[in-house]
């Protein structure tokens, strides 16, 4: 039996008569997985809510047991500021696959539960919204791609009888309300998704998202692959967060295989991740300003972002840093000369951004647009469990670099900006602050880079083990769960991009906002469609 280091939630559940048992083939021990009875599922969620925990994710899997029988499970990951993550799982009957919804305790569970319904055909009872989600209307009714027996290799054909079925958006019969459908193909160079606006005069009454357009079957695709192949795929879940997603995936595999990274490799990962954070924030700051007609800022930011991409191409052989994380380490070591270059550029860019920030703060035309636009209150942010810069701008700031304090962040001075007002302006402020903090951390890592290897040899995980990891990407916490079968082959996999939660915040933020402000507010969130749709 592995040593238990996190028994807090098991005890809290025990106080309420919820019996749980630890799974021994789950890693790491400080983020344990507990099996509970199915009838306790919703009670456990209720207890978690009472203990001020945050819902991290809920997902389902079908595992092939040792006796070759198949077993469906639903998983729930919860996090507490001090007591870390805990996973709960419960078995689901094959003949009568159903589970109680937890969406009345955690609203962010709702879309994930719809995902479970779509992908597994598990009935989620009492769900607040039972409509299809990732599964669009044209899919055959009995298609549940993540079931083990579903043929994931043949492109699925639309059901012609379902071609004319429309998604039922929230209706409004009032005469003064008009609808604006937008997407899935948007006006700019961005990802696809549909937004349905209900507007009165200039103002948005309600905006509803319809996503799933870029669903690529990533979770199914992962099955049957080696961890190495999986890592390449994970790096392409959301191209702008390639470091974050690769790291989360690699870390989950490393936990499952029980290997620890050399310190130098962790530092090198930290540099990659923080550089990715800086590059994306810079790009977004420019794009947000551009959406309010402040093209100057966009041009300047795009220039700095390009400078970073070019140095990345030179040092890391990839402009966006793809494929730089390996199982057990990183792909490229840094020479002294490269370190000098990175330090110099990070310093220069941070200084340039501070200069631009002063100009931004001093320009009334942009300030008029961002201040007070698209507000998410602290209560709302906590309710949804908003992540990353979106959460931080609204006074809800879970940060895995501090809470989980995985290497190298246990050695670094991590500071996180805490906003409160939750408007576009505050989200901008948080991004500026994060650039400054990340720059400091990059330089700290580079200056104190430990000597040693950049790679621990990869070990095949034992049959039947699973690993779970939580990484603070630039957008917020990414969690990955991987379950291995024989010979180190991935049998089941689940990932939750921060966008899966933050998209909900956008719907709240744009209420009563004038329609033309939508692009501005949307950009300040910049949720990933690809990361959400998988």
């Amino acid at each position: 039996m592995t040593e238990l280091s996190n028994t807090w939630f098991a005890e809290r559940m025990g106080d309420h008569g919820i019996h749980s048992s630890y799974l021994e083939d789950h890693h790491p021990a400080h983020m344990p997985c507990l099996e509970i009875r199915r009838l306790d599922w919703a009670h456990a969620a209720e207890e978690a809510k009472r203990q001020a925990m945050r819902l991290v994710a809920i997902w389902a899997v079908e595992i092939v047991e040792e006796d070759a029988s198949k077993q469906l499970y639903t998983y729930m990951a919860l996090a507490h500021k001090e007591h870390r993550h805990v996973l709960l799982r419960t078995p689901i009957h094959h003949e009568n696959p159903e589970i109680l919804s937890i969406s009345k305790h955690f609203i962010s569970a709702c879309r994930m539960e719809r995902h479970i319904q779509d992908m597994f055909g598990i009935q989620v009872r009492n769900i607040l919204d039972a409509r299809l989600w990732i599964k669009h209307e044209h899919w055959p009714e009995d298609a549940h791609p993540l079931l083990y027996d579903f043929d994931g290799k043949t492109p699925m054909l639309s059901d012609p009888n379902r071609a004319d079925i429309d998604y039922e958006y929230v209706p409004c019969d009032s005469e003064c309300v008009y609808e604006i459908p937008v997407g899935p193909v948007h006006a700019g160079i961005i990802e696809p998704g549909h937004f349905r606006f209900l507007a009165v005069g200039e103002k948005i009454l309600n905006m509803e998202e319809r996503l799933g357009y870029v669903h690529k079957g990533i979770e199914k695709r992962m099955q049957g692959r080696t961890a190495d192949e999986g890592l390449k795929l994970a790096g392409r879940i959301s191209g702008d967060s390639t470091v974050g997603h690769s790291w989360a995936f690699a870390q989950a595999c490393e936990y499952a295989a029980n290997i620890t990274l050399p310190k130098r490799a962790s530092y090198l990962r930290g540099i990659l991740c923080e550089r990715e954070r800086i590059a994306n924030h810079i790009g977004d700051i420019g794009a947000i300003c551009n959406d309010a007609g402040f093209a100057f800022m966009h041009m300047q930011c795009a220039r700095l972002r390009e400078d970073m991409a070019r140095l990345h191409a030179e040092i890391y052989h990839h402009r966006l840093l793809m494929d730089n994380i390996t199982l057990g380490g990183v792909a490229h070591d840094l020479s002294v000369e490269m370190r000098e270059k990175l330090i110099q550029q990070t310093r220069d860019i941070a200084a340039e951004i501070e200069h631009l920030r002063a100009i931004y703060a001093d320009t009334p035309s942009i300030q008029e647009r961002v201040i007070g636009a698209g507000i998410v209150t602290t209560d709302e942010a906590k309710d949804i469990g908003l992540l990353g810069y979106v959460g931080r701008a609204s006074g809800h700031s879970p940060d895995e670099r501090i809470e989980e304090a995985y290497a190298p962040y246990d050695d670094l001075d991590v500071a996180i900006p805490k906003g409160k007002l939750g408007d576009v302006s505050t989200r901008m402020w948080v991004r500026f602050e994060e650039i400054a903090n990340a720059s400091r951390m990059v330089i700290q890592c580079l200056e104190t880079l430990p000597e040693g290897d950049i790679q621990t040899p990869w070990n095949l995980p034992e049959t039947g083990v699973s690993g779970f990891a939580s990484i603070e990407s630039w957008r917020g916490e990414i969690v990955t769960w991987v379950h291995f079968g024989e010979n180190g082959i991935i049998e089941c996999y689940s990932v939750r991009d921060p966008s899966a939660i933050n998209w909900l915040g956008l719907e709240l933020a744009v209420r009563t906002v004038p329609v033309p402000d939508f692009p501005l507010v949307n950009k300040s969130f910049n949720c990933s469609y690809a990361g959400h749709d998988l």
């Binding site: 669009h136 044209h138 899919w139 298609a143 791609p145 579903f150 043929d151 994931g152 290799k153 043949t154 492109p155 699925m156 639309s158 899935p184 193909v185 006006a187 700019g188 160079i189 961005i190 990802e191 696809p192 799933g212 357009y213 870029v214 669903h215 690529k216 079957g217 990533i218 199914k220 695709r221 390449k232 795929l233 392409r236 879940i237 959301s238 191209g239 702008d240 390639t242 790009g283 100057f296 041009m299 300047q300 795009a302 220039r303 972002r305 390009e306 991409a309 402009r319 966006l320 793809m322 200069h355 631009l356 002063a358 100009i359 001093d362 320009t363 990933s528 469609y529 690809a530 749709d533």
Partner: protein
């Protein structure tokens, strides 16, 4: 305002007469010539992400930054397919985007040029053709004039691809 002007002057013109080995400037000049010849100096592109991971989008954005500034060659991105001479498609075509891609293509006027951008658009990349959620590569869904490989393709490769489409004789006459 003064500070903005000062910053603009300080940074100066960074748009590159690229001394690069990949001959960006020559490519650009060729492209500009072709666009002048075939489209009276202005090529309107409609961009569609048919299932990409958003990596390609970042590079299309980069092609518009001040270093590359592809607009100087006459390339502009249009919000509507109705004005588009060319469709730039990224990603493997997901089953949920197939109809939208077909409708966008239908909505374009002739000559309906199509550039499939990136490994995914070319052959479904890491997502694979043997995937329930992927309808196929771009060429499986609509006629394609040129393909650019890369994961993602660099801004230079994007320019090259656009040039290649201009050179294609698929729609000649």
């Amino acid at each position: 305002m003064l500070r903005i002007m000062r910053q603009i002057i300080k940074v100066g013109t960074i748009t590159e007469p690229l001394p690069t080995a990949d001959g960006f400037e020559q490519l650009g000049a060729q492209l500009k010539g072709k666009i002048k010849q075939r489209f009276q100096g202005s090529l309107a592109i409609r961009f569609v992400d048919a299932g990409s991971c958003n990596g390609c989008e970042l590079e299309v954005h980069a092609a518009n930054n001040a270093y590359y500034d592809i607009e100087r060659f006459g390339v502009s991105f249009t919000p509507s397919p109705r004005f588009a001479d060319m469709l730039l498609v990224t990603g493997p075509v997901s089953i949920n985007m197939k109809t939208a891609l077909e409708m966008t293509y239908e909505a374009m006027p002739a000559p309906k040029l199509v550039l499939a951008l990136g490994d995914c658009a070319a052959n479904c990349g890491v997502f694979g053709q043997d995937n329930y959620a992927i309808a196929g590569s771009v060429a499986d869904i609509i006629p394609v004039d040129a393909v650019v490989h890369g994961c993602p393709p660099t801004p230079t490769a994007i320019i090259q691809g656009i040039l290649q489409v201009m050179d294609s004789h698929h729609h000649a006459g």
